[in-house]
Amino acid sequence: MLTAMIAIGALAGLFGLLLGYSAIRFRVDADPIVDQIDALLPQTQCGQCGFAGCRPYAEAIAGGEADINQCPPGGEATIQALADLLGVDPKPLNEEHGEHGEKMVAVIDEQTCIGCTLCIQACPVDAILGAAKQMHTVIADECTGCELCLPPCPVDCITMVPVKRDISQWKWPYPEPDHPEIAEAGK
């Protein structure tokens, strides 16, 4: 009996050492928490959070320099996900940074565009196509709706329109329960 206990104790100790060693030996170099936070951010790259993009914001959160409720494009869902990840309480979106709205996409009025390339320089994801003095277009699938291309345009020919959902992206609506007690009773 005693030998068995000693043997198991020794084994446990050995495995503990092994685990401890491998944790040091095989440590991941990149800061995984920043990656994890960044993975939850919407990647709109709009800067509304007060940082130069999603990753800088992720770094700021990881470093304790920013709160989790500063990303308007992500809205409640992102705040909830961040709260879950970091084990903190979710809080409402900080209105100072903006409001959570519908997903939008930029459209360039090709008649008005003078081909100045200023929008191309502003777009964080290179979603605008065009060369100097030629009209530009937005690759709708790649536009994140960040609106950064709007201010530089000297002729105001860029507008934001809601993203059109085609039939393959259609979602079944949430069945509105007309009786609130269903909510409580479902638990």
Partner: protein, 530 residues
């Protein structure tokens, strides 16, 4: 390796439902009239929609390609009859969303002239399976029993799989629907021929046709056909009639006693399953060169005067079919595409029949009553008892209700076949399936968003790197330019000096020449003079 059971196994859950099938079987299967105008949607299959290859004004023949497939999981679309393309654009399509989608509109010329499709094949049983698959793909054939998965993909088990068993699904378990039964009774030759082609293409070791035991006529017709062609290697098994016996996983379990793994495919256990209608479509393409431009549709319900089955050209308005079935009765209250369990409500009868339309149900108030008011869940577990996928519907409901999209997947939401058994028995009348559908499409949307975010992240990072590179390159250029500028004055001096020297030398030379010439003349003159 899967083997056929001697005695069918009993899948979990399920319900005995009133069949209501006989009403649409009193009249024989006939062809519906070709309408004057057809709306042919480009996306009739699971996967990518097709891309139009015709434009307004083009003349088309029956069977001519009008939209080509885009990608592997996609199916081309063919002209259902001859005529003129009137428009290519968005029109309402039969879909639960009620939305419009790209369609090709064809005005029929009434002649129904056929195009040469080149799909036929001689000596098909000696042909390369890849060749057969290509023709099935070119014929635009999709699964006619369910959601319309491209058939060619399901005829390709891949190099790593051996097909032990090809299951042909003739179990048509949903009440009211009889299109497969009508087809089995009227066109057993096409079905058996198609099955043999599929068997060859898949190199399947065994083949079985599963038919509900409530369809003795269909079983008899297929048996006779097997006898007629001397085919002894295809078995017919009568499976007990119980909804949803025709669900793919349920039928495979009934026949083999084996379960398709959660979120897996039948091929994972060496089984491939095709519908009887799909088999017939394969035979029509390979032997008669006909792409998929028509299908059998049941028009039934108390809301229509003479329920029956039609062979219908794709794109035919539903209202035309109802008219040919004697029109609406005063009882009609709701129009559904599909059966009462899995169908969805249509908001118009101007919508076209598509490749996956198996049934038009014009239901009376009694057949499709307004859903009673939902009450709180009383945790009676009846839903779990009837679930054929052995899920916990009340848990799925709770997490879908709470919009907890992670947890709802932990309870295997995606194994739910939306059969509706749980919602039917729920004493609290909770619209359970609506919650599951909501959660499924919500999860797909989330995944799309995540993919888009990943793309944006990659593009943003690429941009930052590019800017970084450009900055570096600019700096380097500037540095080089500065260096060059520092050097240049010296180099310039040197050059200038060299040039000056060269110029000076040249001048000296030139002057020398001049003086030489002058003195020479003078000398000569002198000499002459001397």
């Amino acid at each position: 390796m899967v083997t056929l059971l001697e005695k069918p196994a009993t899948f979990p859950g399920g319900l005995h439902l009133p069949s209501e099938k006989s009403r649409s079987l009193t009249e024989p299967l006939t062809s519906a009239a070709i309408p004057a105008r057809l709306h042919v949607p480009l996306g009739q299959n699971i996967g990518e929609p097709a891309e139009a290859v015709v434009k307004p004004g083009d003349k088309v023949l029956r069977g001519q390609l009008i939209a080509r497939s885009l990608g592997y999981i996609s199916a081309p679309v063919h002209a259902p009859t001859s005529g003129t393309v009137r428009d290519v654009g968005d029109y309402p399509v039969p879909h639960p969303s009620g939305l419009s989608a790209p369609c090709i509109v064809i005005d029929s010329d009434g002649e129904d002239r056929a195009a040469e499709t080149g799909l036929q094949m001689d000596r098909v049983y000696e042909a390369d399976p890849a060749d057969i698959r290509q023709r099935v793909r070119d014929a635009g054939i999709v699964g006619l029993g369910g959601a319309g998965f491209p058939t060619a993909v399901k005829l390709n088990p891949g190099p790593d799989h051996i097909v032990d068993l090809l299951v042909i699904n003739g179990a048509e378990c949903e009440p009211y629907i009889t299109c497969d039964e009508a087809l089995m009774c009227c066109r057993p030759d096409d079905i058996i021929e198609g099955i043999r082609i599929m068997r060859h293409a898949l190199r399947a070791k065994q083949v079985v046709i599963g038919i509900e035991d409530s369809m003795p006529n269909a079983i008899e017709c297929l048996r006779k056909e097997l006898e007629r062609v001397g085919e002894t290697e295809i078995r017919i098994v009568a499976v007990p009639t119980r909804y949803p016996a025709g669900g793919e996983k349920q039928l495979i379990y009934t026949l083999t006693g084996e379960e398709v793994p959660s979120q897996g495919l039948p091929i994972d256990i060496g089984v491939v399953c095709h519908n009887v209608g799909t088999a017939a479509a394969v035979a029509r393409a390979i032997h008669h060169g006909e792409p998929l431009i028509s299908r059998v549709v049941t028009v039934t319900g108390a809301g229509v005067a003479r329920p029956r089955n039609f062979d219908v050209r794709i794109g035919t308005p539903i209202g035309d079919l109802v008219e040919q079935a004697g029109g609406y009765t005063p009882d009609v209250a709701r129009l559904l595409m599909g059966g009462p369990m899995m169908g969805f409500t249509l908001n118009s009868d101007r919508l076209p029949v598509i490749k996956t339309s198996n049934c038009i149900l014009a239901a009376s108030r009694a057949e499709a009553p307004d859903p009673p008011h939902p009450q709180p869940c009383i945790r009676c577990a009846r839903c779990a008892d009837v679930c054929p996928a052995s899920l916990l519907p009340q848990q799925l409901y709770w997490y879908a209700f709470a919009r907890n999209l992670e947890k709802v997947q932990d309870y295997n939401l995606f194994d739910c076949i939306e059969c509706g058994c749980c919602a039917l028995v729920c004493p609290s009348h909770i619209p359970l399936v609506q919650y599951y559908r909501f959660a499924k499409t919500e999860i797909w949307d989330m995944e799309r968003e995540r993919e888009k975010a990943d793309l944006a992240r990659r593009r943003h990072e690429a941009r930052l790197q590019r800017l970084e590179r450009e900055k570096k390159a600019l700096e380097e250029r500037r540095a080089r330019a500065r260096k060059a500028l520092d050097k240049k004055p010296k180099a310039g001096d040197a050059d200038a000096k060299k040039a000056e020297i060269a110029a000076a030398l040249a001048r000296v030379k030139a002057r020398k020449k001049e003086t030489q010439a002058a003195t020479g003349q003078a000398d000569g003159g002198n000499g002459d003079g001397n």
